[in-house]
């Protein structure tokens, strides 16, 4: 299956992925509704986007009491709006923290790979997000470990 591969060292923190995501997902440029989120590291000197891994368990999907989360043609776990009641069980079941809840519509929402043409990858000007046939890995772990550790040692969170 094609997945979103994140190349954190290429991310400049421009947030175009968030804009593109929200526009494709909701029809408005509304980064607050984006399901890919750029996080700062190292005291805002480096950045990396973070989104659903489309994990094998599908914790959101198996937790849903009404079968409102299914697998779409792109292989992504996808919320069926008509079936979702907004009980939020998926938001607490997802151990990656990549489920979202919209209090206005009272529905859960998440990355569905835009049905096979992910807008974030298309919009990224530095190819920090690519859509590839590859196994999903922890793209950010080592990157974040190194950069966050530097801040912890020298900065506000210094502890060890």
């Amino acid at each position: 299956m094609r997945v979103l591969k994140i190349h954190p060292e290429k991310c400049t923190g421009c947030l175009r992925c968030e804009l593109a995501c929200s526009y494709t997902q909701t029809g408005t440029f509304q980064p607050a509704k984006s399901v890919i989120r750029v996080s700062p590291f190292e005291g805002h000197t480096s950045y990396a986007p973070y989104t659903c891994t489309q994990c094998a368990e599908g914790w959101c999907m198996t937790a849903c009491p009404v079968g409102a989360i299914t697998i779409n043609a792109a292989g992504a776990k996808d919320v069926l709006d008509d079936t979702c009641v907004g009980c939020k069980l998926c938001t607490i079941a997802c151990p990656y923290g990549t489920m979202f809840y919209d209090p206005d519509t009272r529905k859960a929402f998440k990355c569905n790979l835009c049905g096979g043409a992910p807008a974030c990858a298309e919009a990224c000007p530095t190819a920090a997000i690519t859509y590839e046939e590859t196994a999903t890995l922890d793209w950010l772990g080592d990157f974040a470990h190194e950069r966050t550790a530097r801040v912890l040692v020298g900065g506000r969170g210094s502890a060890s």
Partner: protein, 441 residues
């Protein structure tokens, strides 16, 4: 002859078990379901109460789905006795069902406060679909509803009651609300928030009796003034439905004691969900969780094992989340462990509270309160669950989290939690979508 599986109980555990049997089996088996009610999801009843969904939306395995799965049904029937030696279950209509293996997933029932008048007219429980229908018929715009009990179940229908235009008073015996879900600080924040949203809360209230006066209900308390109202809802706890199993030779402690394959003391009898006393992921000890996610995982593990696979269950994690008036309230794992190394953070500028509990450099429990519209609330709820579920070694990020409990994401990512999570599955294989279960041909 095809293996004969008997599923007793059509709730979350039973439905997941049947589905998983069909997904996993190599040769077609015979499945019989005994269920007192048509299968539906209790989780969504609050949304039926506030009319945001139709009643038809609550049903999980409809007659068509059960037919597709090739399940023989005894709906409207209860199991009355189990002869574990002979592998025969007797139903309440006298019918006998023989089985090769059997799942007990009979769930729980609501219990009411033991006071005079608790069973009178206008006094409701909100647990089954029938009880939900009763509450729906009773609440009118302008009704004054009194909820007895301020636990998780009560809170799941709080929004619905308010959205129907009723006024709500909550009375709780304990000195504070949500005594088994969050700590004192969190409870105070939720109480203030609800009061601000027009809910009246009376804690430390000892209900003495419920009387009828002039077509209304009157609640009398020991040492406090009466409350008159139109509708009383008793959310005073649940008990496991296991009375019918007495004398069957299945070991019962607080629930049916099960091993890591969810087998009871009788090898061809499994238990799942509210009636099962299974391994707690954090403590490693047996516990009855009685929550939806545990029933779901239990059901799938049992289904896989019944289908001939050998799936070990690593244990279930207590997770609870409820939204009240756009405030998310969630807790996980060992959130109430007094001996844990804990850190808390309370925001002055908005309703937000965190408590993180550690054992060594691992997160073992958490409490999180925040506005449901705030993205970091939803996302952090998930990431804290991931940290508790994986038990990743946080190293120096533990100190970071203790100092900055609202800054979860860097610690989550930098601890390579995703790397630990990616291979994790409950059944040892990728999950199938809800509609992908093989159907009978």
């Amino acid at each position: 002859m095809a293996t004969r599986h008997l599923i007793i109980g059509g709730g979350t555990a039973g439905i997941n078990a049947m589905r998983t049997i069909r997904e996993e089996e190599s040769t077609r088996s015979e499945i019989t379901l005994v269920s007192a009610e048509r299968p539906y999801s209790r989780m969504v009843l609050p949304y039926y109460l506030d009319r945001s969904i139709a009643e038809s939306h609550v049903f999980t395995a409809t007659a068509k789905v059960l037919a597709d799965w090739g399940v023989k049904t005894h709906l409207g029937r209860r199991a009355a006795a189990l002869d574990a030696k002979a592998s025969v279950c007797t139903l309440d209509d006298g019918a006998k069902v023989e089985y090769d293996d059997c799942l007990i997933a009979t769930g729980s029932s609501a219990v009411r406060a033991p006071v005079p008048g608790a069973d009178g007219p206008g006094v409701h429980s909100f647990w089954t679909l029938d009880e939900a229908r009763g509450v729906i018929a009773a609440i009118k715009p302008g009704s004054h509803v009194v909820m007895v009990g301020a636990g998780f179940i009560a809170f799941t229908i709080l929004n619905s009651i308010l959205s129907l235009g009723a006024t709500l008073t909550i009375v709780e015996l304990a000195p504070r609300i949500l005594p088994r879900m969050i700590d004192d600080t969190g409870a105070k924040l939720v109480e203030d928030w609800l009061t601000k949203h027009g809910v009246t809360i009376r804690t430390g209230a000892r209900l003495a009796r419920i009387e009828d006066t002039k077509g209304r209900k009157r609640l009398r308390f020991a040492g406090a003034s009466d409350i008159a109202c139109d509708v009383v809802i008793m959310a005073t706890g649940i008990k496991t439905n296991l009375d019918w199993l007495k004398g069957a030779g299945v070991t019962i402690n607080r629930g049916i004691v099960v091993d890591d394959r969810l087998r009871s003391s009788v090898p061809n009898v499994y238990a799942a969900g509210d009636v099962a006393e299974g391994r707690d992921l954090i403590s490693g000890k047996g516990d009855v969780h009685a929550i939806e996610p545990t029933a779901q995982e239990h059901g799938r593990v049992v289904g896989s094992n019944m289908a001939g696979k050998d799936v070990r269950y690593r244990g279930s994690l207590i997770i609870n989340i409820v939204e009240v008036c756009h405030l998310d309230v969630a807790s996980f794992g060992a959130w109430d462990d007094n001996r844990a190394d804990a850190a808390a953070g309370l925001r002055a500028d908005r309703p937000a509270y965190r408590k993180l509990l550690f054992s060594g450099d691992r997160l073992t429990g958490a409490i999180i309160l925040g506005r449901s519209g705030d993205i970091w609330t939803s996302n952090d709820v998930g990431m804290l669950k991931g940290l508790v579920q994986t038990g990743v070694a946080l190293g120096r990020f533990k100190e970071h989290l203790k100092k900055h409990p609202f800054d979860v994401k860097p610690a989550f990512i930098a601890s390579r939690t995703t790397h630990t999570l990616l291979p994790e599955t409950i059944l040892g294989r990728p999950s199938k979508a809800p509609g992908d279960t093989p159907v009978a041909v």
